[in-house]
Symmetry: C2
Subunit: 392 residues, 2 copies
């Protein structure tokens, strides 16, 4: 039976994640995978979690298993409020920060609405925006011509014959996925200026912010423009991705629509998991674990950079991230990483082709490499294989 | 700052749950609440869950905390497959069965698409359908005129000058929320016949099916028409709602689109929770706990029916459910349960006005009462108060 006649008009725009497809078909443990955004399992606080689940069931009993508030459990919102200095009423818990992206897109984006993104950008954001048939445009384009002409953004745009106002701009300012790059304070201020002048909102996706290995912390966009920013946080990289918990900071008026929307999405986030995350955060265990993770990932990043230096052929360049989980390779123009992928996989190594992070599938000579997942010896083996595949 | 200029066209159609609003404002423990669909906390297998979380972390380690497959973890899909006799490839795990409703609506319903529902029907389904701006129509209307004229459904509809083909029909065949009523085998067969003749799909929402206290089990619609049914299951009433886990049975071609859609919604359901549910199911603990729950709820339903008999004034009638969590009261025409609500709350008792379960807000002389949440003595006290409020 052909079901296509039943599908909504959004379905043909759905974008399938090539990353998820890789995991569907390949046994990760059998290859050297630089593909996923998987944390190192060594950072998971298994002993803490065993203790926390017993503690939470003891402390909260049935309350930890019952339905809960759509905004999230109070204890977790309060723990987040204390940690980040944001009032409780500006905090909504989400069932993963992917849900944060989805629910922001859902309340803001109509088919055809312009949404600005960095290029390359996070695949899951492209998936969500495509599913709402947004008109995805590169932020760089908007920014570039304003600066070059030394006009205000609005003057520049009007000089070019008008524009369609963007609804919002989606950015990952810290250790971006996939590029690993961090926006400077000036770039953040410029984006805020643009958002105020052109009257659009900013969705600041911030899953990696606390994984900084070098350099100086830069203020969040939310702190620069709280009145027009929805800031997305995640427990996936500071606790464990299996919990599927994240949060949104934002103006209460926007959170109110997100709250109503979320009732229809899943009523409320998982309760036991939220209490465990709250205890993990407020007991200080999170900070201890985070310190350990940052140390581990710093050494992995440094190792990855030195391995690339050692094994990659001439003509290959890469970014030097100050944090996060990824760096981005640019290969000689004639190398097509999409075409190369099957050969890499056959040789035992996986990556994600960089073109998947561009809305138009361009930049086929790039790739994203994750440096958090593999341990040191496997990382060296994997990079050696990958370098050989590229050389051939 | 007024944010309305940023909102998508769906936002004005969002429906706020009055049930969730009640919980936002009222301390449940301070009143006699017949409002929510809350299971009795006594049915939560707290000791099992303590044991399960330790066992799962021991058995699966970091795997229970890492990202997982979008379809759900294999062990849980296999446990569900064994229990319900449905092949693994026809099973998608959802982050709550509310997400099941949302994702089905998302892949099927365009603005203006006709979706048939029973009236009254589940508020969360109305919320989801309204959010996609579906044209919600009563199933009863479609069914009624076909039967009366003794024509085929299609002939009857064509005799009335054509029709807009429904995309799908949403029903809760077993112990419906809010009415408590169960569709007979004949009604299910008739719906399947109609779906085949008019070519629409059926979304069968089945959260209460295993909570049967009397009468004979009726086959699921999915078993009658697996090729055009999406069957939604839930762990909320057989395990614990706090886990936010459900599942969908359906044709693989439909599940494939749900799988791609779910990547953008939340990547994957919570992993530790899924492993715990899998162990709970396959160890036999679920069956033991379910038997206990059914016994408890049977006595509560019987008590509720006898209390209504004892305290309610003449002119009030109610349904006699064979299972589930709810029954539905019809009061004399002149009583408006929406207007009555504040007085009831002031007297210390909460219910949900029946009109919230009708797409047009009609039937203001009805109310939904939950009989699972309160214990016996509080239930009697609550019904006494409610009866007095109705009498005034």
């Amino acid at each position: 039976m052909d079901y296509s006649r039943f599908f909504s008009s959004d379905v043909p725009s759905f974008l399938r994640s090539p990353v998820r497809e890789i995991f569907r078909k390949v046994d990760l443990s059998a290859i050297y995978s630089f593909a996923g955004g998987y944390p190192d399992a060594a950072t998971f606080p298994i002993a803490d979690i065993k203790r926390l689940s017993a503690l939470v069931l003891e402390k909260y009993g049935a309350k930890a298993l019952q339905y809960g508030a759509t905004q999230g459990v109070t204890e977790l919102r309060e723990a987040i409020s204390r940690r980040y200095g944001v009032p409780v009423e500006n905090i909504q818990i989400t069932t993963s920060s992917q849900q944060g992206i989805d629910v922001c897109s859902r309340i803001l984006a109509d088919p055809g609405d312009v949404v600005l993104v960095n290029e390359p950008t996070y695949l899951g954001a492209l998936q969500s925006l495509r599913a709402y048939r947004a008109d995805i445009q590169p932020l760089e384009g908007f920014r570039g011509f304003a600066l070059k002409e030394e006009l205000s953004v609005r003057e520049a745009i009007e000089a070019r014959g008008g524009f369609k106002r963007p609804k919002f701009c989606y950015v990952i300012p810290d250790f971006q996925n996939p590029s690993g790059q961090t926006m400077s304070l000036e770039q953040r201020q410029e984006l805020v200026l643009m958002a105020r002048e052109l009257d659009f909102l900013i969705v600041e996706d911030s899953p990696y912010r606390e994984l900084r290995y070098s350099g100086e912390e830069v203020p969040t966009i939310y702190s620069l423009a709280p009145e027009r920013t929805l800031h997305l946080g995640s427990f996936s990289k500071i606790f464990a991705p299996g919990f599927r918990l994240g949060w949104i900071f934002g103006p209460p008026e926007l959170l109110e629509q997100i709250y109503v929307c979320k009732q229809a999405l899943d009523l409320c986030p998982p309760i036991l998991d939220q209490y465990m995350a709250a205890e993990f955060m407020s007991s200080g265990a999170l900070d201890a674990n985070l310190e350990k993770s940052v140390r581990l990932y710093r050494s992995k990043r440094d190792l990855m950079l030195s391995l690339l230096e050692k094994y990659m052929p001439a003509g290959v360049s890469w970014t030097h991230p100050e944090g996060g989980l990824f760096l981005f390779l640019t290969l000689p123009e004639e190398i097509d990483t999409v075409a190369l992928y099957d050969r890499a996989l056959a040789a035992g190594v996986a990556y994600v082709a960089g073109s998947f992070f561009y809305r138009d599938g361009s930049h086929r000579n790039t790739m994203r490499l994750n440096f958090s997942f593999l341990d040191a010896s496997r990382m060296e083996e994997g990079i050696k294989i990958l370098a050989n595949v590229i050389k051939l």
